[in-house]
Symmetry: C2
Subunit: 417 residues, 2 copies
Amino acid sequence: MGKLARGVAVIGAGMSKFGAFPDKTTRELFVEAFTEAVNSVDKGIETKEIEALFLGNFSNDIFEGQVHTGPLMADMVGVTPGPAMRIEDACASSGVAFRLGVLAVASGAHDVVCVGGVEKMTNLETSRVTDVLASAADATYEFPAGATFPGLYAEIANAHMKKYGTTVEQLRMVGIKNHENGALNPKAQFQSTIRDIMKSRIERARAKGLPVPSWKDEMDFLSDPMANPIVAWPLRLFDCSPITDGASAVILAAEEVARRFTDTPIHVIGTGQGSDSLALHDREEFTSLRAARIAAREAYRMAGLEPRDIQIAEVHDCFTIAEIVATEDLGFFKPGEGGRAVEEGLTRRNGEKPINTSGGLKAKGHPVGASGAAQVVEIWHQLRGEAGARQVPGVEVGLTHNVGGSGASCVVHIFRR
Amino acid sequence: MGKLARGVAVIGAGMSKFGAFPDKTTRELFVEAFTEAVNSVDKGIETKEIEALFLGNFSNDIFEGQVHTGPLMADMVGVTPGPAMRIEDACASSGVAFRLGVLAVASGAHDVVCVGGVEKMTNLETSRVTDVLASAADATYEFPAGATFPGLYAEIANAHMKKYGTTVEQLRMVGIKNHENGALNPKAQFQSTIRDIMKSRIERARAKGLPVPSWKDEMDFLSDPMANPIVAWPLRLFDCSPITDGASAVILAAEEVARRFTDTPIHVIGTGQGSDSLALHDREEFTSLRAARIAAREAYRMAGLEPRDIQIAEVHDCFTIAEIVATEDLGFFKPGEGGRAVEEGLTRRNGEKPINTSGGLKAKGHPVGASGAAQVVEIWHQLRGEAGARQVPGVEVGLTHNVGGSGASCVVHIFRR
């Protein structure tokens, strides 16, 4: 097991604007992403050349009352009558859809396929969204006990802080960094740095004649419980990814046909996936995700690479602590050193291991079923040198890391220009 | 495209009892199916040898409030920490999961995987189940207009009757046949012929001192609007598959390792999948499903076979008309001749083309996400000569045909002993 029968490459990628779009349906969001992906194919592609659609979606069942979204989206973009299906692995849905698209092409069944993701979450009010998301945790034991994802990740954060001395400031720095990146991403839900947000709050207070806050800097702002309220200690509002509407799409081709479409394919050189118990209380440890370690090990093995070979990565920062744990699980930093790495700036765009240059789930937004494929969109842009103001110079090897639930699913992919 | 890099075989198969099980969770149902599948492997298999789980499920989101069922079920049976995911294509969910499992093994990523399906529908009352199912039709146009699946399939039935002269008696004969088969299947939800049901109603009336019905035979019984009420003309109650709880599981292996597990693997020699618009009103015709024709064409091409080569088939009889259309779409009978074929007994166990020897969705039951893989379970038993009282002698080539929605998804597989 573990060696693909033939190579697979990304030949196109696109995403919708991420944000809150009360006037758009999932169909419209997906058409937006798909159209950009098709238009990104250097030598052009006709829709009829795309043989199948692998669609990541978490729970359109509840968010929009529409199931069977695979063929629906295929019909909207013209992949019909080709195979179309929805893949669900909570927030890892389109990362897993990407893996299945890769395997389908590698198997010989298809030469060219589309992998997409879509989620429209703002139809429901926040407390209801939190409930729906919580159904990706263990609905028999965790949810009835009152656990929702902020609480579960808070447990992970507390365990990490206790075991390794990770600090709340280090958590805040993940958010500050990712907002700095998101500010440079025109598709991001939040195109503003934490400093921008702080300044606009001060200006607003002044304009309204209210008492003007005296925040010294971002960290001071993020420590103010009025500005950044506690959600589940130690996680505050700015430690949590937002509720988002959005879609993503990438086009995959067998290596043997990829050059028909582009002279700059991005090769998928490693894929790995792992699983774990849904419930946190069934795990041996809280400070590392076994599913992520399994997924990473398999992807590295297939790629013949080690963590130090990865030049850029998009990791699953649904909460700030999740990014720190991810960078440890992926072997970028030793267990317990992820927090310090952020503090030292190693994960910034100009650091030795740039993480979440897109803004990550924190600032780019987290339309759960679309996030995994959207990570691939960022790596595609970066490895092709087309990431605009947030481009990291000269990167040729990138990685994506997409988690479902509190770590019951994880899928890792490695790409080379 | 279209040639698999390596061969794949079924080496084990099992299913839970189908029926209404208020005291069982999806976890318990799936463990039941998985355990039977593992125990069916002739030379034995250890759970740790099963590398991944592809789980078909329609909407556990709503039925049980639990999403992320892939890793949950993997954890229940011991496939953790291997990859696990849920696939959704409405009622074709586990048929599509089966295809993705086949492609994953063919790709070289895995040698041995489990494909399963599970659905627990009886948690909700019937009208609510009908609503949830209707979300697999077009929720923007069809559902708000009042359409549910009995109504959509009634439109198909009316069109077929008008165009080809198919009769209501022919529809009823599909149900009579499938109940005859289900009566011989210990796993079926309804283990009784229509005649058995008719007789028990007569006895019950007599025992209660009520007026005793004077039904002459099954057809007379099925024509009585008190015994068999109209759901959506021309479909009556006994034209509709039931609401069911159940699970199914099959184990797939690469041909190169299959003999380690059994001397009688069932080879997957063809796979095909197609899609179509979700909404019936967007289709060019109602009397045939384009997705089914596309799926069948691809599966036949890959297998190098023609419809006449198929000796036995499980087809998607969610409504009696669906079986008639299926046998035409698969090329077993010419368009418009499916009804007459039933009338002439060609699709009975001793006919030239035995269809739904398991009892089909009609009598075996239809736990939607489990039905596709359960079709494979029946073909596995039949091709191995282990189908007990309902065994069709000497069959070596079989087919499964699994439909999602009113035909927006269809997946076809061909098997050889």
